[in-house]
Each structure stands twice: as C-alpha cells, then as structure tokens.
Amino acid sequence: MWVEKYRPTRLEEMVGNEDVRAKLVAWLRKWKEGNKAVILVGPPGTGKTTLVHLAAKECEMNLVDLNASDARTKEKLVKRIGEAVSTTSLFGERTLIFLDEVDGLSGRADYGAIEFIKQAIKSSKNPIVMAANDHDADQVAKLSDIAVPLRFRPPPPREMELYARSIIEKERLRIPDDTLRQYVTKSRGDIRSLINSVQSYRDRPGEGYKDNYLPAAQALNSFFDATDAKLAFEALRMVTISPVEKVRSVFTSVVNSGLPPMELSKSLEVLSRADMLLGNILRSQEWRQLRYLDGLLANELSRAIGGRGVTYREERFPWPVQLRVWNDSKKSKEIARRFAIRTRTSARSAAAEDLLYLLYLCGNKRFRDQLIRGLDLEEGFEKFLAKEGKMMVEGDST
C-alpha cells in the first residue's frame, strides 16, 4: 500500500499545519518538569498521530503512546503510563507520553481518568501530548486549564497536490492534471484518501473517482424530499458533515421551514430524541450507534416531514442571537449553582430538575423578588428572570 510506503519519516515530509508542527517541536525542546501539556485538536485523518511520532523522533525522545479510549479508567491509565509519568531514564533521556483520542475518555468522575491525567501533567517527569478529534468535547474543556491547545486542520488542496506529485514522480506515473485535481478536491484534506486514489489510478487508469459522499445541502435536501425511509436513510449516510452538525442542520432547517404546528411538534420530539442519542454516543464514544441515529431520523423524522417542502438551511445563528443565548445560559447556570448551595443539592440536579420550576414561578413578581434576595442575585438577573418567567407562563397558557 502506498499509504504505508510513503508515510512521512521526517517532520518536513508532512504537508499542512506548518506552524503547529514547528510549535510542537519548540515546546518539546523547551519542556521542563511542571510545564503544561499540549493537546492537539483536529479532525481525524489530518496527521495528528503521525506528527507526534515524528516530533518524538526529531527531539530524540522515546515514545509511550496510548489510545485513551482503550484505557478509559484511572486504573488502566496507571497501568499503562504510570511508570513513564514518574521516571526518567538513567541517562536522562526523555520519554514523550502520547494520549490519543482523549475525547474518548470517560467523563464520569468515579472513573477518575481525567483527574489522573490532570495530576500526571502536574507531576510528570516527561512531557505529555494529547490528541482529540472533537474540540467541543467535555473532556477537552476539562483539560484546557492544564494543556495548551494546538489546532490541527486539513492541509490546503495545493499542498495536497504537491505531496501527491512527489509520489507520482517517484512512481514515474502519468496522471492528467484534471484527474489529479479531481482527486485532490474529492479527498477533502484526507491525505490517505488522496494517496489511495492515486494508487488506484495506477491500477485502473480509466476509472474515475468514486465518491460516496455529497455536500451537506445536496444530501440533506434529498433527505427532506425522500418519500420513504430507505431513501431518507441513504441520503443521511451520504452527508459529509459531522453527526453534531448534521443534527443541528436538520434542526435549523426544520424550525425555519414553516411546517404546520402538529408536524413541527412531532419533528421536534424526534429531534430531541436524536439529540439525546447523539449525546450518549459522544459520551460513550460508541460510534457504531451512529447508524441508529440515522435510522431514527430516517424512520421517524422523515415520516413527519418527508416531501413537505423542508429545505436545507445552514446551521447558523446570527451573532447577537448567539451572544444572547450564551449570556442567558451563563445566568441560568449561576442561578442553579446558587440554588444548589442553598438547598444542599448538586448543581447538576438543580439545573436539570429545579431550574425549570424556578423560572416558571418567576412569572410572579413577588416570588421573583424573593428569589433574587434569597440567592443574593445581582442587578442583571431581575430582567432575565422577568423575561424567562413571562415566556414560560405565556407558553403554558397557550
């Protein structure tokens, strides 16, 4: 396989992310005990793992690597990397500890994985580099105060072409420019996919690029137009965006579609279940369950909206709306936190179970004033509580 044959063996042989590659090496060279870790965040197939292996080689370090989603608990992590964290070699050689896919770690506090990594970073005698695919994962957020994030992105097409041409030259292959550009475009930043296409051209020159994927707009419009679940499922499997973007885009398209209230209500109910399923998948990293997500959308959502004129809308809210949502959510969390302290419950249960009732009751000014005094809330909260309370009471009466 050319993917193996032409795997980069030195840092300069990679393409894309030049700054990140140089920054990682500079960080490794300057690393001292007590320094933060590094977390590389970026989509799969962009070369994060290759970079770490080559950076260790560049800095003449040993490498201990571990896919964190295979060792999700503290016990397993201690067993696999405990020694590397606490020891140095007799001759002072450093060992680079690499934890891949940390967004696959269990977020559950009782498993202790995240806490172990945090402690390990503080006390480690060797540098620790982590990698994650999902920038928004809880685990990445939890590690952000003790790890410097470095963003990894797909290389631009011209650099992909340059890399492909270097292979073509070594293989003394002749590929028309148009065909190569088509391969580059279709590979969407995935070097392995590009190399495979070039290799398959050598084997079957007449065969064009077989594309099993469609842009989001095209695939989701086919999904919305589908008149049966099978067609809807096939359309969803062809979407190139992430599952999170997929659910959000479907949501945005549905709420902006002007559907009659009953259909809209049914659709939102299905989307709410899809969102919960997606949350479970992201937490458990059980990616095989993604097929059930598509199944749920295809079987139930498509039945409610299929052929009713819903069209794709890009998942996007204007900045002022985003800002308002962020601010409101910050206030909600703060109210739940203070309420939890007063009632000796957890902030989580206050947010999940009590907040809704509190906001509903805030439709009553007397209650609202008492809550503000009782929780010692600052000035800006009165307006927020009045607005939320009014909305909930009005929503209830309709």
Binding site: L11, R153, E159, P320
Partner: protein, 114 residues
C-alpha cells in the same frame, strides 16, 4: 472585506463585546498593528462573527509558506478550497507547481524549525 491570513488587518470599531469575542476566538490584536488570524485562531467562527458584525462578506486568502506572497490568486482550487477550515498557510503558483517544489517546501520547513 478581504483578510490575508497571517497578516495584520484593520477593523472599524465594533464594540467591546465583539472585540472580546474575537479575542476569545484566538484573533490576535496589537495596538498600532491591528488584528491578525493565525494558527491559534478559530478562523471559521471568527469569520462568521465578523460577517455578522460588519454585515458584509469576509473573504480569506492564504499566504505562501515559502515566499510569503498572497497564494490564492489564480489557484485552480479557489472554488473548492474552504479557506476557513484548512491550515492557514499554502503555496503560491510558483512554489506549488515549479520544479523541485516539494524539496523547496521541505527545505523551508527545516530552516524554520532550527
């Protein structure tokens, strides 16, 4: 508005909240120089924010990693390249298609590393 990733650019006053949001998204700011997108910037989100704040389209161009010139003009991938999502340096026509391009690229990286 056109932004060359990795170069300083100016913005009209967009208010404190927008400024703070840009900083949170990793946009660099230096008094006297202006703003800059680099590899630490959440470029996609920053572009969305600027488009909303300025109420105009924001177009990105990338610089050549080897010689630093604007690399996107006359690029065959201009229509297909999502410059908000790809890594923020590219190659100009000369260094992408010229003879020994890959060797020059590797040599530049090695020099920058030392």
């Amino acid at each position: 508005m056109r932004i060359l990733v990795g170069s300083w650019f100016e913005l009209p006053s967009l208010g404190r909240e927008t400024f703070l949001a840009l900083m949170k998204l990793g946009v660099r700011y230096e008094k006297g120089m202006g703003f800059k997108f680099d590899s630490d910037t959440s470029i996609e989100a920053a572009v969305r924010l600027l488009q909303d704040a300025l109420a105009e389209e924001v177009r990105l161009s990338l610089r050549c990693y080897v010689c630093g010139v604007e690399a996107c003009s006359a690029c065959a991938y201009l229509e297909h390249c999502d410059r908000r999502r790809v890594s923020p340096l590219c190659l100009c026509e000369k260094h992408a298609t010229g003879e020994g391009g890959y060797e020059t690229y590797m040599h530049t990286f090695r020099n920058n590393l030392i």
